[in-house]
């Protein structure tokens, strides 16, 4: 039996009733009196000079109350494009009207004259000297240029002579430009440990391949939305659907040059985020500007199409990867060269390329990564940003090595996994992490060791690692005269974190879970809280909540000591009351009585305060196994079984933890098999759910989740952040299963039926 009574239990979430009755207030449900409807005017070209913007016709439309362009941004910070647009859907202006249909009509009436420029949407095309330049002029001294010829040469002298496929062609093309200066490069990141040349030379087997991972959209179900209201005193209130209200507050303040505390951000119930809901300019700033100009509250709500055109999705990338190992299964060296598609702005998880290292002892490793501009919107985080892409390459290649040396893929991984005390590249030594336990758990649960497969069926395994972040937060807890407790904080609930915080406080105060309620404040009222991303919330706010509850307990014991006239050492808090340990007959006082008593003391009510910023986190592992069946004629892959295990440290609410594992795994499945933002000659061509398919319940079977608990030393009750890890291995899990089923290694995601058919054809299969 668990030593705890509330944490570790599958309890219904604190927001259960409001979520199933339609009462929860999401961003678009906010409707202040007099509210106008905003609409953003977007570029119709992926790359063009803007010759003119004419708003005169739109201004005449009855019901239009405000039209804004970059001229209305007093700080001069870029909110709208002026001289040039860099992607289809880039904002140029915005309107506010009394009705959403009028706002849309007005947006259509704004006349924009373009001078269309050549477009580049592929990272490899974009780095070539001949590519159109997105930023700066065409001189050799312009920005965003690097000499990367040596990096390409290092990896391009392949011994393979197979020039038939696209990958070889691409490499050949890169070699052609190897002596040139490359352009449109927005950022770079380099890591090196050991000596890869030596490692490859000592290897018995060297495998290399190039992996293509598409840009995908987080596809949270609630499109971006904000409602802003600027009153005549200059005070600004923003109801924002965001993962980080405090970040939105400072973002608006910085962008518009408004004092921080003149802005109050109210985080509305969030309809999914997955890392994509931190942007400031996307809807919040236009809503504020429209409200300032019109003097009315304004709602700016994106359509699903706008989400695909101007959301901030996960970057696609091309990763060339090479791995060397001995024939008895020791990985000796790994080298990667990656180009990440950062779109029109810089920043695209390029630092995550080092995750090709995985959780393995690899003595020699070298990674060179570049962010590359293309005519697409910028990118943002998506659940373990950058990890699924890098791990797809790393874990796909591990299976190819295992196959070449004739070793079981699970055993091969177990043999190479880092162990407690191993030196870690960043310094220090490896903590205790359930790497092997998690992989063994999934293998056992899936039936890996006695797996069977009919024709065209196969099994795939992969693991992915991620470490939760950490950040500042504050929590208050008050105990009331009826013995209940109320929590007050400012972090956004990211599908279950409010529940975890509540469970922790109920546990420490030894009162029933139902007697603890939680209230979120806005940025005007709540203590600062870090954004709800990077799997930080349970770790950070859990620790903060613990401190707050312990602080309340101190006051509770102090009051009881005064009331019961005994030393605190004789007192124990349990079952919602303070008991005198040595009393016979038993003597106790309930929390409610103590809360009532506190009101007449000199010390005052029971208020616990917790404030926390950081402690070192511990890595988490997700391990997954899929069994699939591939129809060689149609290329269609059907999932027969999908099992996902994860080292979660400690599951504060196992039901919520399972939900994270199941949901993350299905998102990984979708990236592997279905999803891809596609770009034609003029930008994104699949901005809707018909052409950008995400999975439904009809697409795959039940995901079986397996919780592994190897406690994290600094986590609350040993808990680790659980949201991000489960998406990390699935891309490779699926590719490895398809490879096992039909002997075809797909390196370009998603694994669409036509690619499977094509690959089989190249292998000599006749449909």
């Amino acid at each position: 039996m668990s030593e705890y009574s509330v944490v570790g239990q599958k309890l219904p979430r604190v927001d259960a009733v409001e979520k199933v009755t339609g009462a929860a207030q999401y961003g678009a449900d906010v409707h202040p009196a007099g509210m106008l409807y905003g609409k953003i005017v977007r570029s119709k070209h992926a790359h063009a000079n803007i010759l003119s913007v004419d708003t005169s016709e739109a201004e005449k439309l009855p019901g239009v109350r405000a039209i804004i362009t970059q001229d209305d941004v007093p700080s001069g910070r870029r909110v709208f494009a002026t001289d040039k647009v860099l992607y289809l859907g880039e904002p140029l202006a915005a309107v506010a009207a009394t009705d959403p249909d009028i706002a849309e009509e007005a947006a259509e009436l704004i006349k924009i004259e373009y001078e269309v420029l050549p477009v580049v949407q592929d990272v490899i095309e974009s780095i070539k000297p001949s590519a159109p330049r997105l930023h700066g002029d065409a001189t050799k001294d312009g920005p965003n240029r690097r000499n990367i010829s040596s990096k390409i040469k290092e990896l391009s002298n392949s011994e393979a002579d197979d020039n038939s496929n696209e990958i070889r062609k691409l490499e050949a093309e890169l070699e052609k430009y190897a002596d040139e200066v490359y352009y449109n490069i927005s950022a770079e990141s380099h890591t090196e440990a050991g000596d890869v040349k030596k490692g490859f030379a000592e290897s018995d087997v060297v495998v290399e391949d190039t992996y293509f991972i598409p840009r995908v959209h987080q596809t949270y179900m609630e499109p971006h939305v904000s409602v802003a209201s600027a009153d005549s005193s200059g005070k600004i209130t923003v109801w924002a659907s965001t993962q980080g209200p405090f970040a939105i507050r400072s973002g608006i303040a910085g962008t518009l040059g408004i004092p921080l505390t003149q802005i109050n951000v109210i985080g509305t119930t969030m309809g999914g985020g997955f890392g994509g809901r931190f942007g400031v300019i996307i809807t919040h700033v236009p809503a504020v500007l429209l409200s300032q100009k019109s003097g009315r509250p304004v709602r700016v709500q994106m359509t699903r199409e706008e989400e695909f055109l101007d959301g901030r999705p996960a970057p696609g990338c091309v990763i060339k990867l090479k791995t060397g190992a001995t024939k008895d299964g020791h990985i000796l060296a790994r080298q990667a060269l990656a180009f990440w598609d950062s779109g029109s702005v810089s920043g695209a998880s390029i630092g995550s390329t080092i995750r090709v290292r995985g959780v393995y002892k690899i003595p020699n490793i070298k990674v060179d990564a570049y962010g590359v501009h293309t005519n697409k919107s910028g990118t943002a985080a998506y659940r373990a940003p950058g990890a699924p892409q890098a791990i797809f390459a790393g874990e796909s290649q591990l299976d190819d090595i295992a196959e070449q040396i004739g070793m079981d893929p699970v055993k091969f991984r177990l043999m190479n996994m880092r162990e407690e005390g191993d030196a870690v590249p960043a310094g220090g030594s490896e903590p205790k992490v359930g790497y092997k336990e998690t992989l063994e758990a999934v293998a056992d649960a899936a039936g890996w060791w006695d797996r069977e497969a009919d024709d065209n069926q196969g099994w795939g395994v992969a693991v992915g690692d991620w470490t939760n972040g950490c950040g500042p937060g504050g929590v208050y807890v008050s105990v009331h005269e009826d013995g209940s407790a109320r929590i007050f904080h400012g972090s956004m609930d990211i599908t279950g974190t409010d529940t975890a915080i509540t469970q922790i406080i109920a546990e420490i105060l030894t009162i029933p879970y139902e007697n603890v309620t939680i209230r979120r404040g806005d940025t005007d009222s709540a203590p600062y809280s870090t954004g709800s991303g990077g799997s930080v919330v349970t770790f950070t706010m859990g620790n903060t909540a613990k401190l707050a509850a312990e602080d309340a307990r101190r006051r509770i014991l102090e009051l009881a000591s005064e009331r019961l006239n005994t030393n605190e050492d004789n007192l124990e808090l349990r079952d919602g009351a303070v008991h005198v340990i040595t009393a016979d007959p038993p003597k106790s006082i309930s929390l409610g009585e103590l809360a009532a008593f506190s009101l007449s003391t000199t010390g005052g009510p029971i208020v616990g305060k917790g404030s926390f910023a950081r402690q070192p986190s511990t890595p988490a592992l997700a391990a997954q196994i899929a069994k699939v069946e591939v129809d060689p004629d149609t290329g269609r892959t059907r999932v027969l079984k999908l099992v996902a295990s994860q080292d979660v440290g400690f599951a504060i609410n196992p039901m919520a933890v399972e939900g994270q594992i199941e949901g993350g795994t299905v998102q990984g499945y979708a990236w592997a098999m279905m999803e891809e933002m596609q770009y034609g000659e003029n930008g994104n061509i699949n901005p809707g759910f018909v052409d950008y398919r995400v999975p439904t319940s009809a697409d795959l079977p039940t995901v079986q989740s397996v919780i592994v608990e190897v406690p994290a030393p600094n986590g609350p009750y040993g808990a680790k952040g659980v949201g991000e890890p489960p998406i990390t291995p699935t891309l490779a899990t699926m590719a490895n299963a398809v490879n096992d089923a039909i002997g075809v290694r797909i390196t370009e995601l998603p694994i669409k039926p036509e690619k499977v058919v094509e690959a089989l054809k190249n292998n000599g299969h006749e449909a």
Binding site: M221, E222, S697, V703
Partner: protein, 159 residues
């Protein structure tokens, strides 16, 4: 734009409204009547977040013009609980953890209700396919299916 008289019954309440013909049933429910429990996820009938029940059938309300719903009986998520008691489907979504962010949940619950009302004897596989018009991005569907099966069983047992 000229407005047209429309009479709707929503969750048992009659509404006599004047609405523009271009307004969808979703817009009428959310903006005119103020029932915001029904969600807008795509506006193209592809995600199911706006599912409501019209004369016993689940429909995506973003694909129906408000004027064409005149004279019809509509149930939204707000009309499901009765006398303070949650509907068994709502309770099942809570018990199983069949929701996370909750944005798709009203649509899923309404779609599930129409399916269970029509035939609670469906197999898991049948429910999986029948719910294929609703997108959830958080749960991976495992717990949603558990919820629907639990509710169907309860409804079978009590009917």
């Amino acid at each position: 734009m000229a407005k047209h008289p429309v009479s709707l019954t929503v969750n048992g309440d009659e509404h006599d409204l004047l609405i523009e013909p271009r307004k969808t049933l979703l817009a009428v429910l959310r903006d005119t009547i103020g029932l915001t429990g029904t969600k807008e996820g795509c506006s193209t009938g592809d995600c199911g977040a706006c599912t409501v029940i019209v004369d016993g059938k689940a429909v995506t309300s973003c694909m129906v013009l408000g004027v064409t719903a005149s004279g019809k009986e509509i149930t939204t998520i707000e009309g499901l609980a009765s006398e303070g008691e949650l509907h068994p489907i709502q309770q099942a979504f809570i018990d199983t953890g069949g929701y996370q962010c909750g944005f798709c949940t009203p649509g899923f619950i309404m779609a599930s209700k129409a399916l269970v009302d029509e035939n609670p004897d469906r197999t898991e596989e049948e429910f999986r396919h029948a719910l294929g018009g609703n997108i959830c991005r958080c749960t991976g569907y495992t717990k949603i299916l558990e919820a629907v099966l639990q509710a169907a069983e309860e409804i079978r047992a009590t009917s």
